[in-house]
């Protein structure tokens, strides 16, 4: 009976340890988010050239995220961090007005980086 209690106690401690370790591991694997705005030219007069390039940009950022994002060494805590991109995209239709609207939307959403074709 005593042995049984000890076994249970060990098991509970083990589970507790596992949970706390997995919690730590989840914290270590916390994925940061970088907002990127893609001001794409998918339609409009030059779309025969700009649409393929636009999709090429979008596909690359999706590819990075599909790989699980990327890692970098943080200069403050000196630890390895993982980040992914939050991809915002919109068609500008080869229009300056629409480009401006898109850019404002991206910046309002926290983008520090905008790419376009």
């Amino acid at each position: 009976m005593t042995m049984g209690r000890k076994k249970w106690a060990s098991l509970l401690i083990g589970i507790g340890l596992l949970l706390s370790l997995s919690g730590l591991s989840m914290a270590a694997e916390k994925v940061e988010e970088i907002v990127v705005g893609l001001n794409l030219e998918l339609t409009g007069g030059l779309a025969s050239s700009t649409m393929p390039a636009s999709f090429g940009i979008l596909d690359y950022y999706n590819y990075i995220n599909e790989q699980g994002g990327f890692t970098y060494k943080d200069p403050v805590d000196k630890k390895i961090h993982r980040a992914k991109y939050k991809i915002l995209w919109a068609d500008n239709g080869f229009s300056i007005a629409r480009s401006m609207t898109n850019a404002k939307r991206f910046i309002d959403a926290g983008a520090k980086l905008i790419l376009g074709a």
Partner: protein, 287 residues
């Protein structure tokens, strides 16, 4: 605004208007590429007078800014005559007037075509219809040729024309960067868009991604901003893009990520083949 911007288009004078410089493009300015192209024209020209180079460009501020007096002066000094540009309305479907003017009045030997791949296809179709295919030599700008162009004009019409490109073409399929771009394309796009210009997207994005990573390692997430990303971009030196272009090395004050262009000749199948080495382009804009 603390936002860094990257474009697959070409550098323009306007992009230098914002200080600090936060805008980058993976193509040198028109005037910079045209200056880079002068030596090719000189070598290609067999006549006993300076060759005359005309331009047919869509009407837009970005086309107008290419008509830079520094180009005309430098070309003249090197023995090449650049003619005042001709423009066509953005929605034009007939280019007879402009093409006849270039051939009959301006007596151009070469015509630089500043238009999208579809527009250049329509222009070349008119070139053939007017019997001007062998009267002048035609050079499409870096975004003026793709798989779409021969579909519109015909392979026999585009064969022999040139492309001044800033990116390797699918004929160089063994390049690591081209293989990667093809893999992305095959997974996501298949045949719904043309591949030739597609590769400029991953090319630009991999540079911007590298700059973002470097900025994060320098300032961390909380301080990540456009200025930090731009500062990191300036640190790029020999950054390998898998041969899509020569490695990226930034030059102080020059926002062009690539400082090269290359001449390609279109073969009988409508495929651009390299016709010489990468040509260095000077830093002209923003000065």
């Amino acid at each position: 605004m603390d936002v860094a911007q990257f474009s697959t288009g070409n550098v323009t004078q306007l992009m230098y208007g914002h200080k600090p410089l936060l805008c980058f493009a993976n193509t040198p300015g028109d005037v910079e590429r045209l200056i880079g192209m002068i030596d090719f024209i000189k070598k290609d020209w067999k006549g006993d007078r300076p060759p005359r180079v005309g331009t047919l460009a869509y009407e837009a501020s970005t086309s107008r800014q290419a008509e830079d007096q520094r180009l005309f002066k430098l070309a003249r000094e090197k023995g090449v005559e650049f003619l005042p540009f001709d423009y066509f309305p953005f929605t034009a479907t007939d280019f007879s007037t402009e093409l006849r003017r270039l051939y009959e009045v301006k007596k151009a030997d070469y015509v630089w075509l500043r238009g999208g791949a579809g527009q250049v296809g329509a222009i070349m179709k008119d070139v053939a219809r007017l019997g001007l295919r062998d009267k002048m030599k035609y050079i499409a700008c870096y975004f003026g040729y793709s798989e779409v162009t021969p579909l519109i004009a015909g392979k026999d019409v585009v064969a022999g024309m040139y492309l001044e490109g800033t990116l390797s073409t699918p004929s160089e399929a063994d390049l690591p960067g081209m293989k990667f771009a093809r893999k992305l394309y095959d997974k996501n796009r298949k045949s719904d868009v043309s591949f030739m210009i597609y590769a400029s997207g991953p090319h630009l994005a991999m540079i911007a991604h590298e700059a973002t990573k470097r900025a994060l390692e320098k300032v961390g997430l909380k301080k990540l901003g456009g200025r930090a990303i731009a500062d990191a971009t300036w640190t790029l030196k020999d950054f390998d893009v898998g041969g899509l272009t020569p490695p990226i090395t930034m030059q102080e004050g020059n926002i062009s990520l690539v400082r090269y262009c290359r001449m390609f000749k279109i073969d009988k199948e409508g495929i651009p083949r390299p016709d010489g080495p990468w040509l260095g382009t000077p830093h002209v804009l923003g000065r």
